[in-house]
Symmetry: C2
Subunit: 218 residues, 2 copies
């Protein structure tokens, strides 16, 4: 299972800065890190007049741009995607996903709290809060890290999500949500059965990476 | 199978304009259209100083941004992804994928040709050329459309890729490449076997969308 951890806090509390500091600590521990930024107001990544912008204006549903260093994808949606759906679509290769924002979703949360921005932490009554990052003391009954304790925060995350980085050979997503699979039993059965089934098809020799997409309504 | 069609032509021949005109014609025929733009020089989608730009600078491997209207993903790669890999990762929901450029890959090609830009069409000797769009005559033995004949070009594409838009309930990708599956037999077996196997797992009730990712090296 890919851990999804939400970095939450009031506006200007330092969420982006915390992600900037935490990412290298997690990467130094060998983890692939993905992030999801919530933009309620809508965003414009592409620049007017560029070829990819012109594609989107012409009605293309998904525009992809690819270079030797990067690949990017811009996709229109009818309904905002959930965190689980975003992970299922874009982040299945990652060891851990940090979200900036998403305080209303039910993922484990780390709040960055600055006393001067308001009286109470955002997640004072939130059962999904797992830690607080703040340079002032709070009454909250969760581990507390100062904004300088980023190494300790990374260690805490690694300890809290025990199998972090221990990538599953088989990942299953149903209706956009990852389903936990026991390594020994379920993963082995799924892996062997599927490999056996597709073995006789042309083009499946030395299959190292298998992707199956099933859509009931298709 | 998702048809992938490359729109090729010399620089300034009108590739982007052709995609701009062809897309609404294909969409009017009920198709979901994705595009892939090849950018050999590298691109910068994000703007300096923005939160997502700061994530990427901090070393995040995949940055996702999500709003109620759009979702986007920017991913670092070590080696440029192939067209098949890009489709497998980003475009499996589409009915047809148009690429801008990619004249060296082996996908069916439509060349846009302007006599004033050079003596010969790019794909004069290319067996993957399926049509030419040009306002001058050529000697090439493929269907010819003028730059005004976009409706006819869309009809030609629909006829050429017979099952276009007839989305498979089960899509299989091995090592990044889509494997053709016979609808009646292979799709049904895969679908029923997989549904049966995961049926007893928690969280798989009313599974409309199933995604399985298998990675040998994980």
């Amino acid at each position: 299972m890919i851990p999804i951890i939400s970095i939450v806090g009031k506006s200007n509390s330092g969420k982006t800065t915390l992600i900037e500091k935490l990412t290298p600590e997690l990467k130094r521990r060998g983890l692939k890190v993905g992030t999801i930024k919530h933009d309620v107001h809508g965003f414009e990544l592409d620049q007017e007049g560029k070829d990819t912008w012109r594609h989107a204006q012409a009605g293309v549903d998904i525009v992809v741009i690819s270079s030797p260093q990067k690949a990017a994808c811009i996709k229109k949606v009818d309904i905002e995607l959930t965190l689980d759906e975003l992970v299922c679509q874009f982040l299945t290769d990652m060891d851990v996903v940090l979200t900036e924002g998403y305080k209303r979703q039910d993922k484990p949360k780390i709040e960055i709290y600055r006393a001067e921005l308001g009286e109470e932490p955002l997640c004072a009554d939130d059962k999904t809060l797992i830690a607080i990052v703040s340079d002032t003391q709070t009454q909250l009954n969760v581990p507390h890290f100062s904004t300088q304790d980023i190494e300790q925060l990374a260690d805490f995350i690694i300890k809290r999500f025990r199998n972090i980085g221990d990538k599953d050979a088989v990942q299953l997503f149903v209706n956009g949500k990852q389903i936990p699979l026991s390594k020994r039993f379920t993963q082995t059965i799924l892996h062997k059965t599927i490999s056996g089934m597709i073995d006789s098809l042309k083009g499946t020799e030395s299959a190292k990476q298998i992707r199956i997409f099933i859509d009931e309504n298709a």
